[in-house]
Protein backbone atom coordinates (compact mmCIF):
# COMPACT_ATOMS: atom_id res chain seq x y z
CA UNK A 1 0.00 0.00 0.00
CA UNK A 2 2.94 2.32 0.65
CA UNK A 3 3.60 2.60 -3.07
CA UNK A 4 0.18 4.07 -3.78
CA UNK A 5 0.90 7.01 -1.49
CA UNK A 6 2.89 8.64 -4.26
CA UNK A 7 -0.25 8.60 -6.40
CA UNK A 8 -2.41 9.56 -3.42
CA UNK A 9 -0.75 12.97 -3.05
CA UNK A 10 -2.28 14.11 -6.29
CA UNK A 11 -5.75 12.75 -5.62
CA UNK A 12 -6.27 13.74 -1.99
CA UNK A 13 -8.43 16.70 -3.02
CA UNK A 14 -11.07 14.34 -4.36
CA UNK A 15 -14.17 13.42 -2.43
CA UNK A 16 -13.58 9.69 -2.41
CA UNK A 17 -9.81 9.35 -2.17
CA UNK A 18 -9.96 5.86 -0.70
CA UNK A 19 -12.04 4.44 -3.51
CA UNK A 20 -9.95 6.26 -6.04
CA UNK A 21 -6.78 4.96 -4.47
CA UNK A 22 -8.16 1.48 -4.62
CA UNK A 23 -8.93 1.95 -8.30
CA UNK A 24 -5.45 3.30 -9.02
CA UNK A 25 -3.86 0.41 -7.17
CA UNK A 26 -5.64 -2.05 -9.42
CA UNK A 27 -6.19 -0.20 -12.69
CA UNK A 28 -3.08 -1.58 -14.43
CA UNK A 29 -4.31 -5.14 -14.06
CA UNK A 30 -8.01 -4.52 -14.81
CA UNK A 31 -7.71 -4.83 -18.64
CA UNK A 32 -5.87 -8.11 -18.19
CA UNK A 33 -8.60 -9.56 -16.02
CA UNK A 34 -11.39 -8.30 -18.28
CA UNK A 35 -9.62 -9.82 -21.27
CA UNK A 36 -9.03 -13.13 -19.48
CA UNK A 37 -12.69 -13.33 -18.48
CA UNK A 38 -13.96 -12.56 -21.98
CA UNK A 39 -11.59 -14.72 -24.00
CA UNK A 40 -10.39 -17.42 -21.64
CA UNK A 41 -12.70 -17.99 -18.68
CA UNK A 42 -16.16 -17.45 -20.21
CA UNK A 43 -15.53 -19.63 -23.29
CA UNK A 44 -14.07 -22.42 -21.14
CA UNK A 45 -16.72 -22.00 -18.45
CA UNK A 46 -19.62 -22.20 -20.89
CA UNK A 47 -18.26 -25.47 -22.32
CA UNK A 48 -17.52 -27.00 -18.95
CA UNK A 49 -20.90 -26.13 -17.43
CA UNK A 50 -22.87 -27.44 -20.38
CA UNK A 51 -20.94 -30.70 -20.13
CA UNK A 52 -23.17 -31.32 -17.09
CA UNK A 53 -26.45 -30.52 -18.86
CA UNK A 54 -28.75 -32.49 -21.14
CA UNK A 55 -30.42 -31.21 -24.31
CA UNK A 56 -33.24 -29.65 -22.26
CA UNK A 57 -30.83 -27.82 -19.98
CA UNK A 58 -31.31 -30.06 -16.93
CA UNK A 59 -28.33 -31.08 -14.83
CA UNK A 60 -27.00 -34.55 -15.60
CA UNK A 61 -23.90 -36.71 -15.35
CA UNK A 62 -24.89 -38.77 -18.40
CA UNK A 63 -22.48 -36.90 -20.70
CA UNK A 64 -19.56 -37.84 -18.49
CA UNK A 65 -20.67 -41.45 -18.76
CA UNK A 66 -20.64 -40.99 -22.53
CA UNK A 67 -16.89 -40.29 -22.35
CA UNK A 68 -16.40 -43.96 -21.47
CA UNK A 69 -18.27 -45.22 -24.53
CA UNK A 70 -17.00 -45.44 -28.09
CA UNK A 71 -16.11 -43.51 -30.18
CA UNK A 72 -15.02 -41.08 -27.46
CA UNK A 73 -13.42 -43.73 -25.28
CA UNK A 74 -11.29 -45.09 -28.13
CA UNK A 75 -10.37 -41.50 -29.07
CA UNK A 76 -9.04 -40.82 -25.58
CA UNK A 77 -7.19 -44.14 -25.55
CA UNK A 78 -5.59 -43.37 -28.92
CA UNK A 79 -4.61 -39.83 -27.90
CA UNK A 80 -3.19 -41.09 -24.62
CA UNK A 81 -1.20 -43.84 -26.35
CA UNK A 82 0.28 -41.49 -28.94
CA UNK A 83 1.07 -38.84 -26.33
CA UNK A 84 2.63 -41.40 -24.01
CA UNK A 85 4.82 -42.90 -26.72
CA UNK A 86 6.02 -39.52 -27.96
CA UNK A 87 6.64 -38.35 -24.39
CA UNK A 88 8.62 -41.48 -23.58
CA UNK A 89 10.62 -41.68 -26.81
CA UNK A 90 11.08 -37.91 -27.07
CA UNK A 91 11.96 -37.77 -23.38
CA UNK A 92 14.59 -40.50 -23.47
CA UNK A 93 16.19 -39.33 -26.69
CA UNK A 94 16.00 -35.66 -25.71
CA UNK A 95 17.66 -36.47 -22.40
CA UNK A 96 20.44 -38.49 -24.07
CA UNK A 97 21.07 -35.59 -26.44
CA UNK A 98 21.11 -33.06 -23.61
CA UNK A 99 23.49 -35.34 -21.68
CA UNK A 100 25.79 -35.64 -24.67
CA UNK A 101 25.75 -31.87 -25.21
CA UNK A 102 26.38 -30.92 -21.56
CA UNK A 103 28.65 -33.70 -20.34
CA UNK A 104 29.92 -35.26 -23.57
CA UNK A 105 32.99 -32.97 -23.93
CA UNK A 106 32.02 -32.04 -27.47
CA UNK A 107 33.10 -28.91 -29.32
CA UNK A 108 31.21 -25.77 -28.23
CA UNK A 109 29.71 -24.99 -31.62
CA UNK A 110 27.83 -28.30 -31.68
CA UNK A 111 26.00 -27.41 -28.54
CA UNK A 112 25.01 -23.91 -29.62
CA UNK A 113 23.90 -25.24 -33.02
CA UNK A 114 21.71 -27.87 -31.38
CA UNK A 115 20.21 -25.42 -28.91
CA UNK A 116 19.28 -22.95 -31.67
CA UNK A 117 17.96 -25.75 -33.85
CA UNK A 118 15.90 -27.13 -30.98
CA UNK A 119 14.38 -23.72 -30.38
CA UNK A 120 13.25 -23.65 -34.00
CA UNK A 121 12.11 -27.28 -34.13
CA UNK A 122 10.10 -27.09 -30.89
CA UNK A 123 8.18 -24.17 -32.43
CA UNK A 124 7.92 -25.73 -35.87
CA UNK A 125 4.67 -27.67 -35.67
CA UNK A 126 1.37 -27.77 -37.43
CA UNK A 127 0.77 -27.81 -41.17
CA UNK A 128 4.33 -27.09 -42.43
CA UNK A 129 5.75 -29.86 -40.24
CA UNK A 130 3.24 -32.37 -41.58
CA UNK A 131 4.06 -31.28 -45.14
CA UNK A 132 7.78 -31.67 -44.56
CA UNK A 133 7.30 -35.27 -43.46
CA UNK A 134 4.90 -35.99 -46.32
CA UNK A 135 7.49 -34.64 -48.79
CA UNK A 136 10.13 -36.90 -47.28
CA UNK A 137 8.37 -40.07 -46.13
CA UNK A 138 5.00 -39.89 -47.87
CA UNK A 139 4.17 -42.35 -50.65
CA UNK A 140 6.13 -40.34 -53.22
CA UNK A 141 8.45 -38.64 -50.73
CA UNK A 142 12.18 -38.09 -51.21
CA UNK A 143 13.36 -40.84 -48.85
CA UNK A 144 10.62 -43.24 -49.92
CA UNK A 145 11.72 -42.86 -53.56
CA UNK A 146 15.36 -43.20 -52.55
CA UNK A 147 14.60 -46.58 -50.98
CA UNK A 148 12.48 -47.53 -53.97
CA UNK A 149 15.37 -46.83 -56.35
CA UNK A 150 17.46 -49.47 -54.53
CA UNK A 151 14.57 -51.92 -54.60
CA UNK A 152 13.00 -51.42 -51.17
CA UNK A 153 9.35 -50.35 -51.00
CA UNK A 154 8.87 -48.91 -47.51
CA UNK A 155 5.09 -49.00 -47.79
CA UNK A 156 5.07 -52.64 -48.89
CA UNK A 157 7.33 -53.35 -45.94
CA UNK A 158 4.61 -52.09 -43.59
CA UNK A 159 5.65 -48.47 -43.10
CA UNK A 160 2.88 -45.88 -43.31
CA UNK A 161 3.39 -42.21 -42.49
CA UNK A 162 -0.36 -41.59 -42.18
CA UNK A 163 -0.71 -44.00 -39.28
CA UNK A 164 -0.20 -44.35 -35.52
CA UNK A 165 3.59 -44.75 -35.73
CA UNK A 166 3.84 -42.23 -38.55
CA UNK A 167 2.21 -39.57 -36.41
CA UNK A 168 4.53 -40.45 -33.52
CA UNK A 169 7.53 -40.03 -35.83
CA UNK A 170 6.28 -36.57 -36.82
CA UNK A 171 5.45 -35.46 -33.25
CA UNK A 172 8.94 -36.47 -32.12
CA UNK A 173 10.33 -33.71 -34.32
CA UNK A 174 9.04 -31.08 -31.88
CA UNK A 175 9.01 -33.28 -28.76
CA UNK A 176 12.65 -34.16 -28.22
CA UNK A 177 13.94 -30.64 -28.92
CA UNK A 178 11.63 -29.40 -26.16
CA UNK A 179 12.98 -32.07 -23.80
CA UNK A 180 16.52 -31.08 -24.72
CA UNK A 181 15.90 -27.38 -24.06
CA UNK A 182 14.41 -28.01 -20.61
CA UNK A 183 16.92 -30.69 -19.56
CA UNK A 184 20.08 -28.73 -20.41
CA UNK A 185 19.72 -26.31 -17.46
CA UNK A 186 18.94 -29.23 -15.13
CA UNK A 187 22.03 -31.12 -16.24
CA UNK A 188 24.11 -27.97 -15.88
CA UNK A 189 22.80 -27.71 -12.31
CA UNK A 190 24.59 -30.92 -11.36
CA UNK A 191 27.64 -29.65 -9.51
CA UNK A 192 31.03 -31.21 -10.19
CA UNK A 193 31.59 -31.22 -6.39
CA UNK A 194 28.88 -33.85 -6.01
CA UNK A 195 30.65 -36.20 -8.38
CA UNK A 196 34.00 -35.47 -6.69
CA UNK A 197 32.45 -36.11 -3.28
CA UNK A 198 30.95 -39.38 -4.49
CA UNK A 199 34.27 -40.44 -6.00
CA UNK A 200 36.15 -39.54 -2.83
CA UNK A 201 33.77 -41.83 -0.97
CA UNK A 202 34.69 -44.61 -3.39
CA UNK A 203 31.71 -44.49 -5.75
CA UNK A 204 32.17 -45.52 -9.36
CA UNK A 205 30.73 -43.43 -12.15
CA UNK A 206 27.67 -45.71 -12.60
CA UNK A 207 27.13 -45.61 -8.83
CA UNK A 208 27.27 -41.81 -8.85
CA UNK A 209 24.65 -41.76 -11.58
CA UNK A 210 22.50 -44.44 -9.96
CA UNK A 211 22.48 -43.01 -6.43
CA UNK A 212 23.17 -39.27 -6.81
CA UNK A 213 22.65 -37.68 -10.20
CA UNK A 214 19.68 -39.70 -11.42
CA UNK A 215 17.55 -39.23 -8.27
CA UNK A 216 18.28 -35.47 -8.40
CA UNK A 217 17.26 -35.30 -12.04
CA UNK A 218 14.25 -37.58 -11.70
CA UNK A 219 11.64 -34.88 -10.91
CA UNK A 220 12.85 -32.82 -13.84
CA UNK A 221 12.85 -35.84 -16.16
CA UNK A 222 9.37 -36.92 -15.14
CA UNK A 223 7.99 -33.39 -15.13
CA UNK A 224 9.26 -32.60 -18.60
CA UNK A 225 7.94 -35.88 -19.96
CA UNK A 226 4.53 -35.01 -18.52
CA UNK A 227 4.80 -31.65 -20.30
CA UNK A 228 5.61 -33.48 -23.55
CA UNK A 229 2.58 -35.67 -22.99
CA UNK A 230 0.32 -32.62 -22.73
CA UNK A 231 2.06 -31.04 -25.71
CA UNK A 232 1.12 -34.00 -27.90
CA UNK A 233 -2.33 -34.48 -26.34
CA UNK A 234 -3.48 -30.97 -27.23
CA UNK A 235 -2.08 -30.96 -30.78
CA UNK A 236 -4.64 -30.66 -33.58
CA UNK A 237 -3.11 -29.00 -36.63
CA UNK A 238 -0.24 -31.46 -37.19
CA UNK A 239 -2.47 -34.52 -36.89
CA UNK A 240 -5.18 -33.01 -39.09
CA UNK A 241 -2.76 -31.92 -41.81
CA UNK A 242 -1.04 -35.32 -41.78
CA UNK A 243 -3.94 -37.75 -41.54
CA UNK A 244 -6.89 -35.57 -42.54
CA UNK A 245 -8.96 -37.00 -39.70
CA UNK A 246 -8.27 -40.68 -40.33
CA UNK A 247 -6.82 -41.12 -36.85
CA UNK A 248 -9.64 -40.72 -34.34
CA UNK A 249 -7.75 -38.54 -31.84
CA UNK A 250 -9.64 -36.51 -29.22
CA UNK A 251 -8.70 -33.22 -30.87
CA UNK A 252 -9.76 -34.51 -34.31
CA UNK A 253 -13.11 -35.65 -32.87
CA UNK A 254 -13.68 -32.28 -31.22
CA UNK A 255 -12.89 -30.64 -34.55
CA UNK A 256 -15.45 -32.85 -36.31
CA UNK A 257 -17.97 -32.06 -33.59
CA UNK A 258 -17.48 -28.31 -34.16
CA UNK A 259 -17.94 -28.70 -37.93
CA UNK A 260 -21.17 -30.61 -37.50
CA UNK A 261 -22.70 -32.44 -34.58
CA UNK A 262 -21.15 -35.84 -35.38
CA UNK A 263 -21.81 -37.17 -31.90
CA UNK A 264 -25.51 -36.29 -32.33
CA UNK A 265 -25.43 -34.65 -28.92
CA UNK A 266 -23.85 -31.20 -28.50
CA UNK A 267 -23.50 -31.69 -24.76
CA UNK A 268 -21.41 -34.81 -25.31
CA UNK A 269 -19.04 -32.62 -27.31
CA UNK A 270 -18.78 -30.24 -24.35
CA UNK A 271 -18.06 -33.21 -22.06
CA UNK A 272 -15.25 -34.17 -24.42
CA UNK A 273 -13.76 -30.70 -24.13
CA UNK A 274 -14.04 -31.03 -20.34
CA UNK A 275 -12.25 -34.39 -20.41
CA UNK A 276 -9.49 -32.84 -22.48
CA UNK A 277 -9.06 -29.86 -20.13
CA UNK A 278 -8.86 -32.22 -17.14
CA UNK A 279 -6.06 -34.23 -18.76
CA UNK A 280 -4.19 -31.03 -19.64
CA UNK A 281 -4.68 -29.63 -16.15
CA UNK A 282 -3.22 -32.76 -14.55
CA UNK A 283 -0.23 -32.48 -16.90
CA UNK A 284 0.48 -28.81 -16.19
CA UNK A 285 0.05 -29.15 -12.43
CA UNK A 286 2.26 -32.25 -12.43
CA UNK A 287 4.91 -30.46 -14.48
CA UNK A 288 4.84 -27.33 -12.30
CA UNK A 289 5.14 -29.27 -9.03
CA UNK A 290 7.95 -31.49 -10.27
CA UNK A 291 9.82 -28.56 -11.82
CA UNK A 292 9.56 -26.64 -8.54
CA UNK A 293 11.10 -29.64 -6.77
CA UNK A 294 13.95 -29.64 -9.27
CA UNK A 295 14.60 -25.93 -8.80
CA UNK A 296 14.74 -26.40 -5.04
CA UNK A 297 17.36 -29.14 -5.36
CA UNK A 298 19.44 -27.55 -8.07
CA UNK A 299 19.60 -24.01 -6.69
Amino acid sequence: MAQTATFGNRTSALTMPRLRNLFITWMGVIPFFVFSILFLFLPSYSLLVDAFKDAQGNWTLANLGGLFEDPIRSGFILSIQISAFTALLGGVFGFLLAYALVLGKLPKWIRSTFVTFSGVASNFAGVPLAFAFIAVLGRTGAITSMFKSVGIDLYDAGFNLYSFWGLILVYLFFQFPLMLLIMIPSLEGLRPEWQEAAENLGASSPQYWRYVAFPILLPSLLGTMILLFGNAFGAYATAFALTGGRLNLVTIQIGAQIRGDVLHNPNLGFAMALGMVIVMLVCIVGYTLLQRQTEKWLQ
Binding site: T4, T25, W26, M27, G28, V29, P31, F32, F35, S36, L38, F39, L40, L42, P43, S44, S46, F93, L97, Y99, A100, L101, G104, K105, L106, T116, F117, G119, V120, A121, N123, F124, V127, P128, L129, F131, A132, F133, I134, A135, V136, L137, T140, G141, A142, L172, F173, F176, F233, G234, Y236, A237, F240, A241, G255, I258, R259, A273, V277, I284
Partner: protein
Protein backbone atom coordinates in the same frame (compact mmCIF):
# COMPACT_ATOMS: atom_id res chain seq x y z
CA UNK B 1 41.82 -46.49 -17.35
CA UNK B 2 40.28 -43.10 -16.77
CA UNK B 3 41.04 -41.82 -20.24
CA UNK B 4 39.59 -45.00 -21.79
CA UNK B 5 36.35 -44.40 -19.91
CA UNK B 6 36.25 -40.78 -21.02
CA UNK B 7 36.78 -41.81 -24.59
CA UNK B 8 33.93 -44.32 -24.41
CA UNK B 9 31.53 -41.68 -23.03
CA UNK B 10 32.60 -39.34 -25.77
CA UNK B 11 31.96 -42.01 -28.41
CA UNK B 12 28.42 -42.58 -27.18
CA UNK B 13 27.86 -38.83 -27.17
CA UNK B 14 28.95 -38.61 -30.76
CA UNK B 15 26.57 -41.40 -31.78
CA UNK B 16 23.64 -39.67 -30.06
CA UNK B 17 24.58 -36.36 -31.67
CA UNK B 18 24.82 -37.87 -35.14
CA UNK B 19 21.44 -39.61 -34.79
CA UNK B 20 19.90 -36.35 -33.54
CA UNK B 21 21.42 -34.38 -36.39
CA UNK B 22 20.09 -36.87 -38.95
CA UNK B 23 16.63 -36.71 -37.41
CA UNK B 24 16.72 -32.91 -37.53
CA UNK B 25 18.14 -32.59 -41.01
CA UNK B 26 16.61 -35.47 -42.96
CA UNK B 27 13.09 -34.00 -43.13
CA UNK B 28 14.42 -30.56 -44.02
CA UNK B 29 16.99 -31.62 -46.60
CA UNK B 30 14.52 -34.14 -48.03
CA UNK B 31 11.72 -31.58 -48.25
CA UNK B 32 14.05 -29.06 -49.84
CA UNK B 33 15.24 -31.60 -52.39
CA UNK B 34 11.66 -32.64 -53.09
CA UNK B 35 10.56 -29.02 -53.54
CA UNK B 36 13.22 -28.60 -56.24
CA UNK B 37 11.96 -31.49 -58.35
CA UNK B 38 8.71 -29.94 -59.60
CA UNK B 39 10.06 -30.09 -63.15
CA UNK B 40 10.92 -33.51 -64.53
CA UNK B 41 14.61 -34.50 -64.67
CA UNK B 42 16.06 -31.24 -63.41
CA UNK B 43 16.37 -29.20 -60.24
CA UNK B 44 14.54 -25.88 -60.31
CA UNK B 45 12.77 -23.36 -58.13
CA UNK B 46 9.61 -23.78 -60.21
CA UNK B 47 7.56 -24.88 -57.18
CA UNK B 48 8.58 -21.70 -55.32
CA UNK B 49 7.78 -19.52 -58.32
CA UNK B 50 4.35 -21.11 -58.69
CA UNK B 51 3.63 -20.93 -54.96
CA UNK B 52 4.56 -17.26 -54.73
CA UNK B 53 2.67 -16.40 -57.93
CA UNK B 54 -0.64 -17.67 -56.53
CA UNK B 55 -2.67 -14.56 -55.60
CA UNK B 56 -4.30 -16.50 -52.73
CA UNK B 57 -0.84 -17.10 -51.27
CA UNK B 58 -0.08 -13.39 -51.36
CA UNK B 59 -3.46 -12.56 -49.81
CA UNK B 60 -3.46 -15.18 -47.08
CA UNK B 61 0.16 -14.59 -46.17
CA UNK B 62 -0.34 -10.85 -46.01
CA UNK B 63 -3.45 -11.41 -43.92
CA UNK B 64 -1.54 -13.57 -41.46
CA UNK B 65 1.27 -11.00 -41.23
CA UNK B 66 -1.31 -8.37 -40.31
CA UNK B 67 -2.93 -10.72 -37.79
CA UNK B 68 0.49 -11.39 -36.26
CA UNK B 69 1.21 -7.66 -36.03
CA UNK B 70 -2.17 -6.93 -34.42
CA UNK B 71 -1.67 -9.80 -31.98
CA UNK B 72 1.78 -8.54 -30.98
CA UNK B 73 0.44 -5.03 -30.34
CA UNK B 74 -2.52 -6.35 -28.33
CA UNK B 75 -0.35 -8.72 -26.36
CA UNK B 76 2.17 -6.00 -25.47
CA UNK B 77 -0.52 -3.48 -24.52
CA UNK B 78 -2.16 -6.08 -22.31
CA UNK B 79 0.89 -7.67 -20.70
CA UNK B 80 3.23 -4.74 -20.06
CA UNK B 81 0.90 -2.73 -17.77
CA UNK B 82 -0.16 -5.95 -16.04
CA UNK B 83 3.36 -7.19 -15.37
CA UNK B 84 4.47 -3.69 -14.35
CA UNK B 85 1.57 -3.32 -11.91
CA UNK B 86 2.19 -6.78 -10.48
CA UNK B 87 5.85 -5.91 -9.93
CA UNK B 88 5.22 -2.58 -8.31
CA UNK B 89 1.77 -2.30 -6.77
CA UNK B 90 0.05 -5.66 -6.37
CA UNK B 91 2.74 -8.31 -5.92
CA UNK B 92 0.24 -10.34 -3.88
CA UNK B 93 -1.59 -11.39 -7.07
CA UNK B 94 1.54 -12.57 -8.87
CA UNK B 95 0.66 -16.29 -8.50
CA UNK B 96 -2.83 -15.62 -9.88
CA UNK B 97 -1.58 -13.71 -12.90
CA UNK B 98 1.14 -16.29 -13.57
CA UNK B 99 -1.46 -19.05 -13.31
CA UNK B 100 -3.73 -17.32 -15.81
CA UNK B 101 -0.90 -16.85 -18.29
CA UNK B 102 -0.27 -20.61 -18.10
CA UNK B 103 -3.92 -21.45 -18.81
CA UNK B 104 -3.46 -21.50 -22.61
CA UNK B 105 -1.47 -24.69 -22.02
CA UNK B 106 -4.44 -26.16 -20.15
CA UNK B 107 -7.09 -25.06 -22.65
CA UNK B 108 -5.81 -26.24 -26.05
CA UNK B 109 -6.57 -24.16 -29.14
CA UNK B 110 -9.24 -26.58 -30.32
CA UNK B 111 -11.14 -26.25 -27.02
CA UNK B 112 -10.66 -22.48 -26.98
CA UNK B 113 -12.15 -22.04 -30.44
CA UNK B 114 -14.98 -24.41 -29.50
CA UNK B 115 -15.81 -22.07 -26.61
CA UNK B 116 -15.51 -18.95 -28.80
CA UNK B 117 -17.97 -20.38 -31.31
CA UNK B 118 -20.31 -21.39 -28.52
CA UNK B 119 -20.53 -18.02 -26.78
CA UNK B 120 -19.84 -15.45 -29.49
CA UNK B 121 -22.28 -16.79 -32.10
CA UNK B 122 -24.99 -15.16 -29.98
CA UNK B 123 -25.02 -11.94 -27.97
CA UNK B 124 -23.23 -12.47 -24.68
CA UNK B 125 -25.75 -11.82 -21.90
CA UNK B 126 -25.51 -11.87 -18.15
CA UNK B 127 -28.93 -11.95 -16.49
CA UNK B 128 -30.57 -10.99 -19.80
CA UNK B 129 -28.43 -7.87 -20.09
CA UNK B 130 -26.56 -8.03 -23.41
CA UNK B 131 -22.92 -7.25 -22.71
CA UNK B 132 -21.17 -8.16 -25.95
CA UNK B 133 -22.81 -8.30 -29.41
CA UNK B 134 -22.55 -11.57 -31.40
CA UNK B 135 -18.95 -11.07 -32.48
CA UNK B 136 -18.90 -13.97 -34.93
CA UNK B 137 -21.78 -12.56 -36.99
CA UNK B 138 -19.57 -10.32 -39.15
CA UNK B 139 -16.13 -10.89 -40.63
CA UNK B 140 -14.76 -7.70 -39.07
CA UNK B 141 -15.67 -8.69 -35.54
CA UNK B 142 -14.63 -12.31 -36.16
CA UNK B 143 -11.17 -10.90 -36.74
CA UNK B 144 -11.35 -9.40 -33.27
CA UNK B 145 -12.11 -12.81 -31.81
CA UNK B 146 -9.26 -14.37 -33.78
CA UNK B 147 -6.77 -11.72 -32.64
CA UNK B 148 -8.00 -12.14 -29.07
CA UNK B 149 -7.52 -15.91 -29.41
CA UNK B 150 -3.99 -15.42 -30.75
CA UNK B 151 -3.30 -13.02 -27.89
CA UNK B 152 -4.40 -15.78 -25.51
CA UNK B 153 -1.99 -18.21 -27.19
CA UNK B 154 0.82 -15.64 -26.83
CA UNK B 155 0.18 -14.97 -23.11
CA UNK B 156 2.61 -17.56 -21.67
CA UNK B 157 5.49 -16.44 -23.86
CA UNK B 158 4.86 -12.72 -23.69
CA UNK B 159 4.30 -12.65 -19.94
CA UNK B 160 7.43 -14.64 -19.25
CA UNK B 161 9.50 -12.43 -21.54
CA UNK B 162 8.19 -9.18 -20.01
CA UNK B 163 8.43 -10.51 -16.46
CA UNK B 164 12.07 -11.49 -17.00
CA UNK B 165 12.69 -8.09 -18.57
CA UNK B 166 11.22 -6.28 -15.56
CA UNK B 167 13.32 -8.36 -13.18
CA UNK B 168 16.44 -7.30 -15.05
CA UNK B 169 15.79 -3.56 -14.62
CA UNK B 170 15.19 -1.72 -11.35
CA UNK B 171 11.53 -0.88 -11.98
CA UNK B 172 10.95 0.74 -8.63
CA UNK B 173 13.90 3.09 -8.80
CA UNK B 174 13.18 4.04 -12.41
CA UNK B 175 9.56 4.78 -11.50
CA UNK B 176 10.44 6.81 -8.43
CA UNK B 177 13.07 8.77 -10.34
CA UNK B 178 10.55 9.56 -13.08
CA UNK B 179 7.88 10.53 -10.55
CA UNK B 180 10.24 12.85 -8.68
CA UNK B 181 10.84 14.61 -12.00
CA UNK B 182 7.09 15.02 -12.41
CA UNK B 183 6.26 12.26 -14.90
CA UNK B 184 2.75 10.84 -14.94
CA UNK B 185 2.19 7.10 -15.20
CA UNK B 186 1.53 7.29 -18.97
CA UNK B 187 4.94 8.88 -19.49
CA UNK B 188 6.51 6.36 -17.16
CA UNK B 189 5.02 3.40 -18.99
CA UNK B 190 5.58 4.58 -22.56
CA UNK B 191 8.83 6.53 -22.24
CA UNK B 192 10.65 4.75 -19.43
CA UNK B 193 9.44 1.19 -19.01
CA UNK B 194 8.68 0.21 -22.63
CA UNK B 195 12.04 1.41 -24.03
CA UNK B 196 13.86 -0.43 -21.24
CA UNK B 197 11.96 -3.59 -22.10
CA UNK B 198 12.66 -3.53 -25.82
CA UNK B 199 14.75 -6.70 -25.77
CA UNK B 200 12.11 -8.64 -23.87
CA UNK B 201 9.35 -7.25 -26.06
CA UNK B 202 11.22 -8.07 -29.23
CA UNK B 203 11.79 -11.68 -28.21
CA UNK B 204 8.15 -12.04 -27.08
CA UNK B 205 7.00 -10.47 -30.34
CA UNK B 206 9.13 -12.73 -32.52
CA UNK B 207 7.91 -15.84 -30.73
CA UNK B 208 4.32 -14.65 -31.11
CA UNK B 209 4.99 -14.09 -34.80
CA UNK B 210 6.31 -17.65 -35.15
CA UNK B 211 3.19 -19.03 -33.47
CA UNK B 212 0.63 -16.93 -35.33
CA UNK B 213 1.81 -16.90 -38.95
CA UNK B 214 1.15 -20.56 -39.74
CA UNK B 215 -1.58 -21.18 -37.16
CA UNK B 216 -4.36 -23.45 -38.37
CA UNK B 217 -6.81 -24.38 -35.63
CA UNK B 218 -8.31 -21.02 -34.64
CA UNK B 219 -8.25 -19.58 -38.16
CA UNK B 220 -9.89 -22.63 -39.75
CA UNK B 221 -12.77 -22.91 -37.31
CA UNK B 222 -13.42 -19.17 -37.30
CA UNK B 223 -13.42 -19.29 -41.10
CA UNK B 224 -10.68 -16.71 -41.60
CA UNK B 225 -8.67 -17.00 -44.86
CA UNK B 226 -5.30 -16.90 -43.13
CA UNK B 227 -2.07 -18.59 -44.23
CA UNK B 228 -2.57 -21.78 -42.16
CA UNK B 229 -5.91 -22.77 -43.73
CA UNK B 230 -4.59 -21.81 -47.18
CA UNK B 231 -1.55 -24.05 -46.72
CA UNK B 232 -3.69 -26.91 -45.48
CA UNK B 233 -5.98 -26.67 -48.52
CA UNK B 234 -3.02 -26.40 -50.87
CA UNK B 235 -1.77 -29.72 -49.52
CA UNK B 236 -5.01 -31.41 -50.59
CA UNK B 237 -4.37 -31.05 -54.32
CA UNK B 238 -0.72 -30.04 -54.84
CA UNK B 239 2.52 -31.84 -54.08
CA UNK B 240 5.52 -29.56 -54.69
CA UNK B 241 4.16 -26.15 -53.70
CA UNK B 242 3.30 -27.29 -50.14
CA UNK B 243 6.84 -28.64 -49.76
CA UNK B 244 8.23 -25.31 -50.97
CA UNK B 245 6.04 -23.37 -48.52
CA UNK B 246 6.98 -25.75 -45.68
CA UNK B 247 10.62 -24.80 -46.32
CA UNK B 248 9.69 -21.11 -46.38
CA UNK B 249 7.80 -21.51 -43.06
CA UNK B 250 10.75 -23.26 -41.52
CA UNK B 251 13.09 -20.49 -42.64
CA UNK B 252 10.74 -17.86 -41.18
CA UNK B 253 10.64 -19.67 -37.83
CA UNK B 254 14.41 -20.02 -38.00
CA UNK B 255 14.93 -16.31 -38.65
CA UNK B 256 12.58 -15.39 -35.78
CA UNK B 257 14.35 -17.70 -33.32
CA UNK B 258 17.85 -16.67 -34.40
CA UNK B 259 16.87 -13.02 -34.00
CA UNK B 260 15.61 -13.82 -30.50
CA UNK B 261 18.90 -15.44 -29.53
CA UNK B 262 20.88 -12.51 -30.97
CA UNK B 263 18.67 -9.95 -29.22
CA UNK B 264 18.67 -11.69 -25.82
CA UNK B 265 22.40 -12.30 -25.95
CA UNK B 266 22.89 -8.58 -26.43
CA UNK B 267 20.67 -7.99 -23.42
CA UNK B 268 22.56 -10.43 -21.22
CA UNK B 269 25.79 -8.63 -22.14
CA UNK B 270 24.50 -5.19 -21.28
CA UNK B 271 22.89 -6.42 -18.05
CA UNK B 272 26.18 -7.94 -16.98
CA UNK B 273 27.94 -4.70 -17.84
CA UNK B 274 25.61 -2.53 -15.77
CA UNK B 275 26.04 -4.52 -12.55
Amino acid sequence: MKSAKLRRVSWLSWIVIVVGAIYFLAPLVGTFEYSLTALRDQYSFAAYERAFADPRFVQSFGYSMLLALATIVCSILLIVPTAYWVHLYVPQIRPLVEGITLLPFVVPAIVLVFGFIKIYSRPLEIMNIPLVPPLLSTIESTNIVLIAGYTVLSLPYMYRAVDNGLRAIDVRRLTEAAQSLGAGWGTILFRIILPNLRTALLSGALLTFAIVVGELTLATFLGIPAFGPYLQQLGQHKAYEPAALAIVSFLLTWVALVLISIVTRGNAGSAAGSH
